[in-house]
Amino acid sequence: MTRDLDLLLPSPHPVELIDPTGQTVAEATRDLPDDAALLRAFAGLTTARRINDQASALARQGRLAVYPSSHGQEACQVAAAQVLTDDDWLFPTYRDTAAVVLRGVDVAEAFLPLQGAWHSGYDPHEHKTAPQATPLATQLLHAVGVAHAARLRGEPTVALALCGDGATSEGDFHEALNFAAVFRAPVVFLVQNNQYAISVPLARQSVAPSLAHKGIGYGVPGERVDGNDVAALLAVLGAAMTRARAGEGPQLVEAHTYRMQPHTNADDSRRYRQDDEVAGWAQRDPLARLETWLRQHDLLDDAGLAAVTADADQLAARMRTELSRDATPEPAELFAHVYATPTPQLVEQAAVVADELSREDAR
């Protein structure tokens, strides 16, 4: 089946509905989301920003082993969580903890891996949210499988799979797009292009016209969006989800954003980028521009802002309490989840650990 190239090409410029100064874009190609959606997104952005900054503080205090902050690029995660229904699946990466919490996962469970207590802390089936992926792009194929299984059963599920710009160089990114296209699987791929894969800038990942253009080779339509404009993200992702749900196949969305902070608290980003570049992107902050727009349209006042901030404060307080607890599982759990039934060898090995611990206790 050949497809018309025009239908696959992303728009010439990233879709933007609210500009960095908080003004409505005049020649916008898509409708603005409704007021309720934008107010919900503002609350989501406020929460996500607070999660980032609280988690970074906890990492500095040593209460989290590490934290890969998404400060400044929260709009992508907020929009991702917001366009999902209860039937849909989210496939987040390690930097998408805010999206996981916005999907409904308790902070104590979401942050368990960052406490160093277990590799994943929540029940993926309960929240239809896959474990956060640390290897790059592997989870995109899992999203294709979840979506394909749902489609075979006639269920309305769409899988929304997140990855970064670096992940688009991995083979699994290409295999996922190709499989999704061939099987017409209801998957939306959201590439959060934050310009850096740890220290390596986008120019070293790809010389394609854009990352969204990479869909063309697979017959997957691509779209580019201002990744710091949550209104544009809601419009573009929402349309892609609707299209996938209607059986029209996968879509690739590239969101242009910027990682304002180092890769993690263990990284030193001054070794590979200039302060003025960071300062330029500070002018494009997703939270500030939506607040300006909402105030100008009389949808937000000081009281409204205080209410949203209070909710975020409450969550941050809960993070401080929950993440100060020792959540380390019982040692026996090391052997409990390797197989449905432990092998005889694992039963023996669990006894070895129990014995070692009992002798430690006796000392």
């Binding site: 802390g121 029940d123 194929l141 294709v144 499988g145 499989f179 989840h337 390797v338």
Partner: protein, 342 residues
């Protein structure tokens, strides 16, 4: 789990004693599993209209439709990665890697995700899926078509690794693998695909995790699996003519490993040789020697020996007979078991 569950309309295959090749036995197991459970889906390269390059999936698309057995793009990581997602979402995928060495592009998906999903989610997500891999030598295959790759998978916690040595086990073990709540790497010795034998499909056979004694013997124990079991049996036959009684243990399941059966067998004879095609260094055979030595040291009359492949890349077809352990290499190892000291 017996043949009575099959919906097959072919009377010759409706149960009881039938003559089958291993390839036909595997095909039967797939058909029966698909008929018994709608969530079982089969996919991979060339598995649809062609029925697989070894014809293991022959007729499945015709019988069950192309949503139950289907061809995929040619990308092994994609195949296994998609199977993971389908298994997360209520299906029981059975995927085919076309050849042993062609499974390597899927290695990350297998080791980082298939093997670890249950553990990283603290038991919340299980992956009931089977990765079928035709493996090992003996068919004169060209480069990259004949690796003995079982150690890579056996070394990875979270995977079951199963390998049949005959048609009856192929049928029984594949049905058990598909029914397993855990992921199973199912390694099919391709040189045995066309070996025909009488199979009792109603027989109750031990499941995954149990070894079986294939031949009783009193002087020494040969421990083998998959393609090496017929070699061990032939060696035991030759030894018998020379007056030496060799017992043969067929592992069937590399993971979980049946220490109980293997160690009881070795203790009964006091001598053991491990037979395997794979290069011996850091291999499944090494692990067996270590386990047997640790557990049976005081019953042993001689060090446990190995009759295995050399530590070289798999040779070209005209040289492969030099790599694969044959009867002579097995019996030479048996001869080295310090008989003069007993």
């Amino acid at each position: 789990m017996t043949s009575t569950q099959t919906t097959s309309t072919r009377p010759a295959e409706s149960g009881g004693h039938v003559k089958l090749t291993m390839a036909q036995a595997l095909n039967r197991a797939l058909r029966e599993s698909m008929a018994a459970d709608d969530s079982v889906v089969v996919f991979g390269e060339d598995v649809g209209a062609l029925g697989g390059v070894f014809r293991i999936t022959d007729g499945l698309t015709a019988e069950f439709g192309d949503t139950r057995c289907f061809d995929t793009p040619l990308a092994e990581s994609g195949i296994v990665g998609m199977a993971i997602g389908m298994a997360m979402n209520g299906m029981r995928p059975v995927v085919e890697m076309q050849f042993d060495a062609f499974a390597y592009p899927a290695f990350e998906q297998i080791t980082s995700h298939v093997a670890k999903m249950r553990n990283r989610t603290r038991g919340k997500v299980s992956l009931p899926m089977v990765i079928r891999i035709p493996y090992a030598g003996g068919i004169g295959g060209v480069e990259h078509h004949c690796d003995s790759s079982e150690a890579y998978y056996a070394h990875t916690p979270g995977l079951h690794v199963v390998t049949p040595s005959n048609a009856a086990d192929a049928h029984r073990l594949l049905r058990a693998a598909i029914a397993s709540p855990d992921p199973v790497v199912f390694m099919e010795p391709k040189k045995l695909y066309w070996t025909k034998e009488e199979v009792d499909l109603g027989a109750e056979l031990p499941g995954i995790g149990r070894a079986m004694i294939r031949r009783e013997g009193t002087d020494a124990t040969l421990i083998a699996y998959g393609p090496s079991v017929p070699v061990a049996l032939e060696a035991a036959e030759v030894a018998a003519q020379e007056g030496r009684s060799l017992q043969v243990v067929d592992l069937r399941s590399i993971v979980p490993f049946d220490d109980e059966t293997v160690c009881a067998a070795v203790r009964s004879t006091g001598r053991a040789v491990v037979v395997a095609e794979a290069p011996g260094f850091a291999s499944v055979a090494s692990e067996i020697v270590a386990r047997v030595t640790e557990r049976c040291f005081h019953s042993l009359a001689a060090p446990v020996r190995r009759a295995v492949g050399f530590d070289i890349p798999f040779p070209a077809p005209k040289l492969e007979h030099l790599q694969l352990p044959g009867v002579d290499r097995v019996l030479d190892a048996v001869d080295d078991l310090q008989w003069d000291l007993s």
